[in-house]
Amino acid sequence: MASIVIPRPATYSRPAILDWLTTVDHKKLGILYLYTTMFFFAVGGILALLVRTQLAVADNHFVSNHTYNQIFTMHASAMLFLFIIPVWAGFGNYIVPLQIGANDMAFPRINALSFWLVPPAGIIMFSGFLVDGGSAAAGWTAYSPLARTLGTGMDLWIIAVLILGISSTIGAANFLVTLFRLRAPGMTMFRMPIFCWTMLVTSFLQLLATPVLAAGLVMLFIDRNFGGSFFDPNGGGNVILWQNVFWFYSHPAVYIMILPGMGIVSEIVPVFSRKPLFGYKAFVFATMGIGGLGFSVWAHHMFTTGAVLKPFFGFMTALIGIPTGVKIFNWLGTLWRGSISFSTPMLFALGFISMFLIGGINGTYSAAVPVDFAIHDTYFVVAHIHYVLFGGSVFAVFGGLYYWFPKMFGRKLNEGLGKIHFTLMILGFNLAFFPMHLLGLDGMPRRIATYSSANDWDFLNSLSTAGAFLIAVSMLPFIANCIITFMKPSGQPNDPWEANTLEWWATSPPPVHNFDDLPEVHSERPLFDLRHGANAGH
């Protein structure tokens, strides 16, 4: 076995707390990202429970209407801007340099800056609860004219999202340069692990879409604070302009939120099926296809405004179903006649595939304009987004945590507790979000603070609330699992799962410099090649 020796940088020690606060090591920053984003996941989750408590029964007065608006706005803002988007930066930070055999990101200090922008932005966004008029309350979509007239909390929200946008944009540039310039010798673009490919496409979307949102936020800020007329028809402005600018970012952002999850699932499924990923190149091109088409579908969120070219955006949206379907076949083809083991990471990956499939299907036929007119702004859309972003992204987050936990901390999470976690979560998830399809078809509008008992929506809503609390309960075995595992001694082997990619070549956890040497890279699965010979499975 030939190997390439890598020179070792000098190391020196300093107090642990100072080390964590000043670190530019991609692994430590990745872990900081994960802790921070899981914290905001918990905060967003608590807000979701408040929403569900309010909606559990008809004519409820658990919270006031204005408080309700703040709660659902901050729930979505925390989950999207402070959890899902930065959590991928966390996984990407830890995993991408290891998977491509690099010793760090391209710009370690910019990487630290990207991370350290996130906690202050979270604090600024949530400080809205302390000011007069409360936090932002115009939904995470912040449509005008409502967003132009709310109190100071809205300005804090704008500033926070702008800061998160900067973090996300410079982080994306960092990932792109890392992936283009720091790959191990022999690792061509088409030998990159699939998670790296999804991070690459995601980074392109972030780099090009996020600044457009920044432009929109700046306009909203000027309208609110400097008497601007961007979104004010009285001054010649246009309220639909905000929707166009916002969705020009936020539709690609949906792919920013799901593509790395697809990457994680595509790492897990082959390992636990004992087979290479079926159709690696097809998967890569499908990812690029989703990324490219992602820029041409934003106005499907705006069909009912009547101000967009409906046939074009309906058609392009339906087209996205094709590369997405290709990926479903990639995963099914990998599972087909594989030697499947149902370890916890695999359970979450299979949960992702099945739940995301439901979210994808109900999304695709919402692309049909007449269907969209019927279900626009109903709970059907809420069900769709949660099947994609919870059934998809969140399942992938937990799959990734169980999968890479041994690498990050040198300890394996307990399988029994993991399976309890998965079972409770998938039951709670379907109980919480499946009834929303029916409520939506029955005409229940989203974002209403309460509803009349005359509508007969009580039963389905209380099911949904029970499901939400079951999801919360499912987090208890996970937290217990983490605590128990951290009390055990570390000492996992380099490659406890018999996996395929280079991060499993390093020790668990890897040293600061990651690798003492690297195996030769002949394919996208160098460790598989080492076990089975370079020509196996080709």
Binding site: A106, F107, I110, T169, I170, A172, A173, N174, L176, V177, F180, R181, L207, L208, A209, T210, P211, V212, L213, A214, A215, G216, V218, M219, I222, D223, F226, G227, G228, S229, F230, D232, N234, G235, G236, G237, N238, L241, N244, V245, F248
Partner: protein, 188 residues
């Protein structure tokens, strides 16, 4: 590696200005006439608000900014050839030209008969030119950093990524201005 990162950063800046330009063109397309004088309230008219721009001074500013792009490119060629004095003078002259541009812009702002509150015409004008001005100021600070570093002898014919990135940024700011000048003043 640094240059690739910087090109990507500029790509994100292009998208940012793209968003602002889009807002301007949509406002313009929505309006029955441009400038949208009909939207002015009687109070605004009584205050002496007029939606019009003078082209003369901004035209001079345009010439200054465009020539500064050539000067900084000359400075890059000097550092590549190992001429440190040329680099220092090139950066110094570009900084002065940048500051002159900003001064002209501030004077021009003070003379305009409308503000951000005066219809979408005023809002888009000050947002677009204001963000461009902020980028000119940012670029000038970048050049001052490069100037100090070049006086300390930190650049060589082999290592001068910062100067090259700086000049690339300056060209970008220049191109945005040409687009702005054409849209706001020439087409009007």
């Amino acid at each position: 590696m640094t240059m690739l990162g910087f090109i990507l950063f500029i790509a994100s800046e292009v998208m940012f200005f793209g968003g602002l330009f889009a807002a301007y063109f949509i406002a313009r397309a929505d309006s029955p006439s441009w400038p949208p004088t009909g939207l002015l309230s009687p109070e605004q008219v009584a205050r002496g608000v007029e939606l019009k721009l003078e082209i003369a001074l901004p035209a001079i500013a345009t010439v200054i900014l465009v020539s500064s792009s050539f000067v900084i490119q000359w400075a890059v060629s000097q550092v590549k050839g190992g001429n440190r004095t040329g680099l220092i003078w090139g950066l110094f002259v570009t900084i002065i030209l940048g500051l002159v541009f900003l001064t002209i812009q501030m004077y021009d702002y003070s003379q305009l008969p409308f503000g951000t509150r005066d219809t979408v015409y005023g809002t888009t004008f000050f947002t677009l030119t204001g963000f461009h001005g902020a980028h000119v100021a940012g670029g000038t600070i970048f050049m001052i950093v490069c100037l100090v570093r070049s006086m300390n002898g930190q650049f060589s014919p082999q290592h001068h990524e910062a100067v090259e990135a700086c000049s690339m940024y300056w060209h970008f700011v220049d191109i945005v201005w040409i687009a702005l000048f054409t849209t706001l003043y020439v087409v009007g």
